[in-house]
Amino acid sequence: MSAFLKGLGGVVLAAAVLYGMQRTTPGYGDITSPRPVAGKLGHRLEGRAFAIDIAKVQLARTVITKGASRDSTFTTSGVWVVVEGTAEALNESLTLLSAEWLGPNGVRYAMSQRLSSLPGMLSGQRLEPGLPTPVLMAFEIPESQVVGGTLLIARSAWAPLAEQARIEMVGVKPVDIHSSLVVARAQGRVPWALSAQ
């Protein structure tokens, strides 16, 4: 009888171990997920391939771009988030193609393609080592996702084990939403000029 119980106990233990292993095995998406480097708004974050410093975050209901021939108004059902910062490559020239806003509910909002032609947009800037470059990013998010957001910036959205900067957006509050933000081209080091209305 005790031999039978020992056998049964062995089977139950094996089943429990296997069940535990099945539940805790990370999936392919987790194994190849980007390597995060944590940072905060207003502080320079240095990874291995690039360094980024997010200086200012502005919120607005509409964005007006002043082009060469005409002005365009961009409305949204949520809020526009316009992020200004400085980025630098550390060892080799690269372009940061992926920027996402991770909302508190876990949803990731990618950079808005509607405003991709703005001067100084992150995905269009080639970052060279030794040359900090001003960069601009624009996101469209629901108003409920403004507080507690995190900026995720990486070279590519799909490359496995890419380095990803996670910048906590502390101090970004919905009370500061402007009614409109005007983006115009500027001469000089920073190719854009933002003014709130």
Binding site: G27, Y28, G29, T32, S72, F74, T75, T76, S77, G78, E100, G106, V107, R108, Y109, A110, S112, Q113, R114, S116, E140, I141, P142
Partner: protein, 193 residues
């Protein structure tokens, strides 16, 4: 062979037959089920314009259809074209920004030589990029109708669904996969200036 040897042979043969009966039964049942499902497909529901259709990744609500010669951008094309435009509301229900809506619906029955449609954002009147989650947008799909085919009075669209699998069958990676169509929608095609 001695009597004992024959007994063990018979016992092993018996065990073999029992095991293979189980496997054969499983194969036969699964084959029969596949054949039955293929012969009796589930009827695809008909949806009306204005009714939200849940396709897994997107929730789509068709508004109207019209023909015209001017695309939503308002810029006259260089050569005169017949355009068929379908206006709809699209809501991204996934957890990331997505621009994979080109195969969300198709004209049923398919028209020969019809190029894939271009999608415009009604808000900007320009070509649509990715749609943000939880932020529904009105969009316009524009087909360049071939000159030889007459413009239809009624447009029947088949709406496809997708499911999200946390672990797919090849890499164990998360992804969206096509499933059975969600609904058929028939829209009356009006004319626009």
């Amino acid at each position: 062979m001695s009597a004992e040897q024959r007994l063990t042979w018979r016992r092993r043969l018996f065990a073999f037959v029992v095991a293979s009966v189980g496997a054969a039964a499983a194969t036969a049942i699964s084959f029969a089920m596949t054949v039955y499902e293929a012969a009796h497909p589930k009827p695809v529901p008909i949806a009306a314009p204005g009714q939200p259709i849940d396709t897994g990744r997107w929730t789509i609500t068709f508004r109207d259809a019209r023909t015209g010669s001017l695309p939503p951008t308002g810029i006259k094309p260089s050569t005169p074209k017949k355009l068929v435009m379908v206006e709809f509301d699209l809501d991204n229900r996934s957890a990331t920004t997505s621009n994979v809506f080109s195969r969300l619906f198709a004209i049923e029955p398919p028209i020969a030589n019809l190029p894939p449609p271009a999608f415009y954002l009604a808000r900007d009147k320009s070509v649509a990029g990715g749609l943000q989650p939880d932020m529904p947008e009105r969009m316009i799909a524009v087909w360049e109708w071939p000159a030889a085919v007459p413009v239809p009075e009624q447009l029947r669209l088949k709406v496809a669904t997708q499911i999200h699998k946390q672990r797919d069958n090849l890499y164990g990676a998360p992804g969206w996969f096509d499933r059975d169509p969600a609904a058929f929608v028939t829209l009356a095609v009006g004319t626009s200036p």
